[in-house]
Symmetry: C2
Subunit: 368 residues, 2 copies
């Protein structure tokens, strides 16, 4: 194989597919990127058997062929080369020579025949949304997946399509995050659970432009994302996702409208007094026009008043401050609405159209 | 005590003195900052018994007094307060109340009487250099102090004043870094060894402006730096520093002039093939007009040619690439001169006036 491509294209392509290279594996071939120039296009592929990514890069093919090469060392070398044309050449002994200006590297590759190709997925009906929307939806929900593997379904996100609406849900037993997107085109109803890791990696690759689109299509076991010159294939998590609709009530006894930035800054300050692992709640005391927040720990105590618009009853309620912070950080609105029932019932932070809903369970506290 | 000061002044002052707060200590009082408003100035002090820093901040004293307060929690609270006036008040039980807008923190302090004040140093003859110069000199030498404590003197830097010239030296057994500065005013000859930690911390505090000055003065056991509203007092390292002059020869058989950036980038690329802890040398082969660099490891091999101007003999010599990188990174010149004798003798990188000298010992290698 002999190919020529410019550095920035190669760096970009390698960086995209590297997202599917596992950090630890017992199979050395999985630590490789496949460079495939057997056809008239240069394709890079990486695949950890759960998540596979393939991308095309521009370049000139002088001699057809393919080779698998250690992703880490190849990526580091390519990054540090001068900003110019890079020539990649392999011989019959799987030795790869990388030349750029006067610099020349020789490293050993592996046979491309040992490489696991991406599964071939039949393109059925596709769902199309903008890269911007997909990236935003992931950012606004991914923080509330569970990070331990004891309940596999909680490590993923529900993608539910119903009546032309895509609903993305994550939950970890203490809170639920929901984002709703109207699809531009009608589409068959379905429910799948996408691994959190897939969403985290794809969100790093997405350009986030509103004009660029992502096509998604599905099988029973896989989801495929296609955008730019890249294909991402991921296994799905098997099993039936949690029934959340019965937890979503629109009744409330207290509604609070509050400046998001003020509330976030205040809770952020309060958490200074909470050491990691310590489970001190922040206590919120809702009165007329003023909400008092206070926290007390071994380090000291803090209290602060914030002006609010209130409807309904006064209420005192405690929360894990981290859960409030996580939700408030991803909301872009200047003002947010909190809906509460009583000190034992969940708090809902949501907009009027319910494009986002954050449900947070309260915690017990001893009134100070 | 009751004082009022604005957030940015307080944050700046706390950040300065925090550099002298030890990360680990068995004496809780050392983890504190002393806020001293007993006189008509607000002074912050921290002192780990090796290094002490005191700074003055602007503010209004409503009630005189002083208190010692945990540096970490105080600094975090102050940083996260709104950008406005901060009121700090203490009661007779050493409780401190910090108020800013509607936020109010209560934390416990310690008695200022338990705090170790900075040693009182008599101001003898002072040496004055610009903040810019001191900061640069530290940056250009600090990388070659030894980081293990087995030879205490190697963890510091020699400050040697002779005939109106300040020479700063660091060495670690494999290399020596030397920077020379002409002092503006005559001054008594002396030789002291300043702890590396002191220099690292002071270089973080120095603004680095060429117009601002630093006054240094000395006792047998201490060095004092005075600048802006800040005083830094550090113990010296006792003992006689290494005699380096006999190692500095100006004889050479080969002189190479080379573009610094090209050389640095090339060595930087070459180190990709060297795993941490692996001691592969970079081999430099100096010929007429071309210098070839090559390296070989388990990961692969690399070679690159760089154009040079050469005087004298051809030479093949090996180095630890990290030592070359460290020296080249801090040299600001576009072109550098390398002076070499033979494959067993040190390489000197220096400018003509010898304002900087980097001596690097070569390593053995098996010619490939």
């Amino acid at each position: 194989m002999k190919i020529i491509c410019n550095k920035s294209n190669l760096v970009k392509g390698v960086s995209i597919v590297s997202k599917a290279v596992p950090s630890k594996t017992t199979m050395p071939i999985l630590e490789c990127i496949l460079i495939d120039a057997t056809m008239d296009i240069i394709r890079l592929t990486a695949n950890d058997m759960e998540l596979g990514i393939q991308t095309e890069i521009e370049g000139e093919i002088i001699e057809h062929g393919m080779i698998a090469i250690d992703a880490k060392i190849f990526s580091e070398i390519v990054r540090k080369l001068p900003d110019n044309e890079i020539v990649i050449e392999t011989d019959n002994n799987l030795q790869m020579t990388i030349t750029c200006e006067k610099a020349k590297f020789d490293i050993s590759g592996k046979s491309g025949d040992d490489f696991s190709y991406l599964p071939i997925i039949e393109k059925n009906e596709t769902v199309t949304i903008s890269q911007f929307t997909l990236k935003e939806v992931i950012r606004q929900t991914i923080f509330s997946i569970a990070d331990n593997e004891s309940n596999k379904l909680m490590t993923g996100e529900l993608f539910e399509i119903q009546n032309g609406i895509l609903r993305v849900v994550s939950l970890d037993g203490h809170r639920i995050s929901i984002r709703k997107i109207e699809l531009k085109e009608p589409c068959e109803d379905r429910k799948i659970v996408v691994p959190g890791k897939t969403l985290i990696e794809i969100s790093k690759i997405l350009s986030g432009e509103a004009e660029s689109e992502v096509c998604m299509y599905f099988t029973n076991n896989h989801i495929v994302f296609e955008f730019d010159n890249t294909i991402v294939v991921s296994r799905l998590i098997e099993g039936e996702y949690f029934k959340i609709d019965q937890m979503l009530s629109s009744d409330y006894e207290t509604k609070v409208r509050i400046n998001k930035r003020e509330l976030l800054n205040c809770i952020d300050r309060a958490t200074l007094l909470v050491k990691e692992g310590d489970k001190k709640p922040i206590i919120i005391n809702i009165g007329d026009e003023v909400m008092e927040l206070r926290i007390k720990s071994q380090l000291g105590s803090m209290n602060e008043d914030i002006m609010i618009h209130k409807e309904g009853k006064d209420l005192m309620i405690g929360f894990n401050p981290k859960f409030l912070i996580d939700a408030l950080r991803v909301i872009d609105d200047e003002e947010v609405d909190l809906y509460l029932m009583n000190a034992k019932a969940p708090c809902f932070i949501k907009d009027e159209a319910e494009n986002y809903i954050y449900l947070i369970l309260p915690v017990n506290f001893n009134a100070i």
